[in-house]
Subunit: 171 residues, 2 copies
């Protein structure tokens, strides 16, 4: 009985984190569906990153999950240079808003297929950014934790991207 | 052996969520320590909420955790009217930035004392916003999940409050 009880709490924990991941991505999808390409090209606030930069940044970070989770090859390594290794620049060579929307959707589709194929136990295995030796000492540095930290990262920038939308009176 | 294995993953899951909670609050504390009261009084972006409103909003939401977690009485129910039930208004009657910083710190101190006293099992009990009947069907609506969703909420607004700080060349 005790074993079942404890197993239940582990399964519940995995569900909680997966729910958080799907929720944050779904909020971004919903926001993106309301933003025009012109709105994405604007700065979220004066002097701050543009929506395109933030979307490219989030897409690159999610794309890197494929390798760090040992799920397979990355889809868009070309996003690293403009969106991870460089600050936002007006004349940067980078994909258009339309292309980035497509990359964002495809990366998430791919990630979600891999998520659906993971067992509860798989989530508690190490990811590729932590060595076997370190993982023995720090078992919380597992794949579930990586997904959780990425979901929180999305939430952080989604708050900023909300400012790209139209102003409402209640703001 | 299996029982230990499963118990380990549950304990690891609780640690992961608590780490997330402490990390988001620590980021907010760090940001607040760099912002002047004048910066907090400004809008995060043109026409958007002020830093004072966002800080009051986050403090009220964290304060409400005390009751929803069944940890005790709320400390600052007076924050609900100006920061949860009303939009941001320039002439609203509400605590000053200095007072809100104090409320934010005290609420978090109190929450963290309660967190330190929780057992692993406690985190998987229902919180007060879900009925016993619903909880039987949806055991993920537990206290750990509530803390997690609040941490993500902080991350969302912390991204916006970053815009209150000085502009740097690297954005």
């Amino acid at each position: 009985m005790e074993s079942n009880q404890i197993s239940d709490t582990t399964q519940v924990s995995v569900k909680m984190v997966l729910d958080v991941w799907h929720m944050q991505n779904s909020r971004m999808d919903k926001l993106l569906s309301t933003l025009t390409d012109d709105q994405l090209a604007a700065q979220a606030a004066p002097g701050r990153n543009t929506g395109i930069y933030l979307l490219g940044h989030l897409t690159a970070v999610s794309d890197r999950l494929l390798e760090t989770m040992a799920w397979g090859d990355r889809m868009y390594p070309n996003l690293d240079q403009p969106f991870l290794f460089s600050p936002d620049k007006k004349d940067a060579e980078r994909p258009s808003a339309a292309e980035l929307r497509e990359c964002w959707s495809r990366v998430n589709e791919t990630i979600n297929k891999h998520i659906a194929a993971m067992s509860t136990e798989d989530w508690f295995k190490r990811h590729m950014s932590v060595s076997e030796e370190d993982f023995k000492k720090e078992p919380h540095r597992n794949r579930l934790n990586l997904l959780l930290s990425r979901a929180i990262h999305i939430s952080n920038h989604q708050g900023q991207m909300l400012y790209l939308g139209a102003l409402h009176n209640e703001n």
